[in-house]
Symmetry: C2
Subunit: 216 residues, 2 copies
Amino acid sequence: MSQLRVHNLTMSVDGYVAGPEQSLQHPLGVGGERLHGWMFATRAGRAMLGGEGGTAGVDDAFVVRGDVGVGATVMGRNMFGPVRGPWPDEEWTGWWGPRPPYGHPVFVLTRHARPSVTMEGGTVFHFVTDGPESALARARAAAGGADVRLGGGAATIRQYLALGLVDHLHVVVAPVLLGDGERIFEPAADLAFRYECAPPVAGDGVTHLVLTRRPR
Amino acid sequence: MSQLRVHNLTMSVDGYVAGPEQSLQHPLGVGGERLHGWMFATRAGRAMLGGEGGTAGVDDAFVVRGDVGVGATVMGRNMFGPVRGPWPDEEWTGWWGPRPPYGHPVFVLTRHARPSVTMEGGTVFHFVTDGPESALARARAAAGGADVRLGGGAATIRQYLALGLVDHLHVVVAPVLLGDGERIFEPAADLAFRYECAPPVAGDGVTHLVLTRRPR
Ligand SMILES: NC(=O)c1ccc[n+]([C@@H]2O[C@H](COP(=O)([O-])OP(=O)(O)OC[C@H]3O[C@@H](n4cnc5c(N)ncnc54)[C@H](OP(=O)(O)O)[C@@H]3O)[C@@H](O)[C@H]2O)c1
Ligand SMILES: NC(=O)c1ccc[n+]([C@@H]2O[C@H](COP(=O)([O-])OP(=O)(O)OC[C@H]3O[C@@H](n4cnc5c(N)ncnc54)[C@H](OP(=O)(O)O)[C@@H]3O)[C@@H](O)[C@H]2O)c1
């Protein structure tokens, strides 16, 4: 069965996956860029930015695994970009340049309809206005049996967690404090029963935690 | 200068240091007892309960360090016990039996006055009704130049963090989900500037994070 998987989601010690005041200058909110240092030190992380070199240890393995077996991605509109409200035009096509590192269909949750955008290298952005279950169904169909990756951000992950639809949640705790921003965990008494957490894995200056859904 | 130090404060992956519904049966709230398994596997943790044996690695070292150089403790009334509201009588004298593992004066924050209680082995519980700054001043005086340990719980730590009075905050992340309960981190934009976090230290199934206050 096709799974819904979150990978490399990096959280501060105080529980935020994005800092406050997201903008063009601060895609991850103020201070949020400090979260992902570990990833851009890895070989796979550098390759994602078109670079070379990088470490090839446990952090790199986690980054690589995030893409394996994935046939489509779902993300929230704030992860797609800094534009808010009705789209003023169709200029914004994501943070990732003409050739985004997805290479498959990406379903962007938003309340603001927009025609699909075809990028180089197999990435097509589709804008889904009828909610998370519809976005997942469309992503599953597009993935043709492969898994669906849930990219983020926080609001999107919170909804899929509350719906009980996330199968695999890889959280990376970075030794960073953000003070404020977006959390993925909100009070939800049944979360404790629905997921289990594997023993932590020490990376290079970060900690990897993998939550998996208990069998129903 | 005498420091205010938090040690061995164990937090779930979803950010709680106590589960919901604290009671006599569930001192750490429902599910919260799973947080401290790592501590009671260590030699120092077992000794605290009057037991023997236990591991002597990095986790044990962190537990031991928590008591060194400490001359007084401050804690919140919910950490002291499950009784809420005005004290019905003076029977409750803490979770720790006749000889609590403090061995020094302990200042319990509460809005409900109560005479001090002298226990065996040097522990005296004082009840402080005029707020956290007063409790800390009294603890500092009692510690006679030594450090003050801030025991918890969540509400108490949140207040001392907000006041900028915590010097050392050792948080242990356990691979546990609680779903709901008490958090120590609440949105506080300046926290990110006031503290820095050392690289994580891998324990036996848990991760140690040490936050220290930046010099002013
Ligand atoms: N730390 C990490 O590893 C990591 C990973 C991924 C992302 N991030 C960061 O997370 C931040 C984004 O997270 P976020 O919580 O602000 O937002 P988000 O989840 O990316 O997007 C929220 C937006 O998605 C749309 N949306 C969500 N649910 C919807 C629904 N049920 N129906 C219709 N539209 C829906 C809405 O857009 P409209 O307003 O258009 O309706 C909503 O405003 C960014 O800073 C990103 O960089 C961090
Ligand atoms: N995970 C860990 O490592 C760890 C460590 C320590 C404790 N804990 C757990 O944390 C939980 C307790 O935390 P909590 O957040 O519920 O409560 P808490 O901080 O222990 O106590 C809160 C109470 O302290 C008193 N108080 C706090 N601030 C005050 C002020 N400014 N003035 C007067 N009184 C004040 C009030 O008592 P009154 O209602 O009497 O006024 C308040 O209800 C327990 O379950 C404990 O086991 C966990």
